[in-house]
Amino acid sequence: MVENRRWLNLLTHAVLLLGLAVVALPLWMTFVASTLGPGELINPPIPLLPGSHLLANYGEALSSGMARAGGVPVGTMLFNSLVMALGIAVGKIAISVISAYAIVYFRFPFRMTVFWLIFVTLMLPVEVRIVPTFQVVSSLGMLNSYAGLTIPLIASATATFLFRQFFLTVPDEYLEAARIDGAGPIRFFRDILLPLSRTNMAALFVILFIYGWNQYLWPLIVTTDEHLYTIVMGIKGMVTVSDEEPNWPIVMATSMLAMLPPVAVVIAMQRLFVKGLVDTEK
């Protein structure tokens, strides 16, 4: 498939550039809009180059963005989102790595039943079970709390399943060598299995962090206290102001800020992320 023809090179580059434009244009427009002054965006033509209000807009978004719309500053919402995303990612990994360990390495009655039960819940995403989950969370008094935001989303079939598949590829000889070396179940898990799953955990962390960060419906339902609003909810709230035009540049600046943490996570863990998805370090 490696051919060196001039027109073919041009064609492939053109296709790639087109793809890039499709993906990047909305991001660019968001950035441009976040640097414009209050009225500039509404009047056609829509500007394609950044304006001069960059610092002012971002400053306003961070300090008092929603305050004008009767809410909390973006900083608080970013923090809430961070807590939620981290809680979900870390919680999911912790729970599922332990349950996968139990399913793969221990022989107990109804082991496969348990596995299939977990597997079946793959078919039940948050939205499907949202009403009963809300009922449970509310009777436990967890509404308007970080626990209520994170715990119901932590139980995860996907991650359990992935860890199970990974553990099955770990050679039995490691377990046997560890047994001879006098490592019990906890030591084997901590000293050998967890370090071996490092790259898988990193890859899952990236995916789950973004999953947690992007949650919209669930935080909308369990939080009524605006001090617990997440950034994704907050942006929506900023758009639906009554009686006046939404302040688009501030909304766009907030959107840009909301995109930064996931980007940072991806960049920071990129090396491990790719490794975890591509190669199996054995």
């Binding site: 060598a177 560890a178 001879i180 490592a183 030591r187 490092r198």
Partner: protein, 367 residues
């Protein structure tokens, strides 16, 4: 240091498959026991039962004075070298070797000292900070040995430890393992399917087949006095030639197809007319026939190995192929007919039905 006793050891899997069908074995303190057999004969299972990685269904395994049947592997005071080494990939060589001692809660200085001593013995001193993937196959093998060594166990267990190495390294490591075990005086149990390894390493050789120890003895005894046809065919390379024959009516000689008659010595006394299998090792056929019985061979393939030559052919009147092994480079061409001498003293007789030796009926394994 300890003796190792297996007493009527059996392994039956949950599905009812009987992998080990009653093995008795005694290894003295410091003895090097090699278990050899074809794949699927249960040799690895037996080793893993001694290690404690497989449960023993029946019988007793004793290391020193202790019955270890119900002990965890770590409590048995054994160390094992795995076929694929099973080095922990994320740990340095040092940590790999120290892991078992760490788990025993030994003091830091002792661990350091023991690992360094083992590293010196195995010439691993410069590699202690490396990760297993940065090592060559031979070095990994040494680390696996080192991990076993630092524990100073009562018994070393080796599960085909050399099968992943190339031929040259294998010979070198074989010599080193033997020297190391001699020097330490630790009892060792070694599983292999390679009969050269088995012959060279063993103080006591166990030939296994179908979950049973067919013969246990000193390597040379097993070579010279195989108890069964299986053992005779398995030990020795190229393997023993087998020809079917019947005992003549007078009970004094053997009748083979092709008018071949071999006198029977007095020690074996199979009854007249009985069907037997005659076994002759390729090295016991010779090109200059004397007055004794002769075998005419039409030569097929010739393998020139330099120091020796292996000739394959068909004897007149026989179904079976016959292999001949001679020193140096003889004057033989393909298609030629060869007159071979057969020394009656080196002829082995086996019962055609049971495969048991008729020449050495007293030797034998714990069948």
């Amino acid at each position: 240091m300890a003796e190792l006793h297996l007493n009527g050891v059996r392994k039956v899997y949950a599905g009812g498959v009987e992998a080990i069908r009653g093995v008795d074995l005694e290894a003295e303190d410091g003895e090097f026991v090699v278990i050899v057999g074809p794949s699927g004969c249960g040799k690895s299972t037996l080793l893993r039962m001694v290690a404690g990685l497989e449960r023993t269904s029946e019988g007793e395994i004793r290391i020193g004075e202790r019955v270890v049947n119900d002990l965890e592997p770590a409590q048995r005071d054994i160390a094992m070298v795995f076929q694929n080494y099973a080095l922990y990939p994320h740990m340095s060589v040092f940590r790999n070797m120290a892991y078992g001692l760490n788990n025993q809660g030994r003091p830091k200085e002792e661990i350091l000292e023991r690992v360094q001593r083992a590293a010196r013995m195995l010439q691993l001193e410069g590699l202690l900070e490396r990760k297993p993937r940065q090592l060559s196959g031979g070095q990994r093998q040494r680390v696996a040995m080192g991990r076993a060594l630092v524990r100073d166990p009562k018994v070393f267990l080796f599960d085909e430890p050399l099968s992943n190495l190339d031929a040259k390294l294998r010979v070198q490591m074989r010599v080193e393992i033997k020297a190391l075990q001699r020097g330490l005086g630790t009892t060792a149990m070694y599983v292999t399917h390679d009969q050269v390894e088995a012959m060279t390493l063993a103080d006591r050789l166990v030939v296994m087949n179908g979950g049973v120890a067919e013969q246990i003895g000193r390597p040379l005894d097993i070579y010279q006095r195989p108890a069964t046809r299986f053992v005779a065919g398995f030990i020795g390379s190229p393997s023993m030639n087998f020809l079917t024959a019947a005992v003549a009516a007078d009970g004094r000689s053997l009748e083979l197809p092709g008018e071949l008659r071999v006198p029977l010595s007095a020690r074996a006394g199979p009854t007249a007319g009985r069907q037997v299998t005659v076994g002759v090792r390729p090295e016991h056929l010779h090109l200059s026939p004397g007055s004794g019985p002769r075998l005419t061979l039409s030569v097929g393939l010739i393998e020139l190995l330099g120091a020796e030559t292996v000739v394959y052919g068909h004897p007149a009147g026989h179904e079976e192929a016959v292999t001949l092994r001679v020193q140096g480079v003889p004057e033989v061409t393909e298609g030629q007919d060869l007159e071979l001498g057969l020394d009656p003293a080196h002829v082995h007789l086996f019962d055609a039905r049971t495969g048991r030796s008729l020449s050495h009926p007293d030797d034998g394994g714990a069948v």
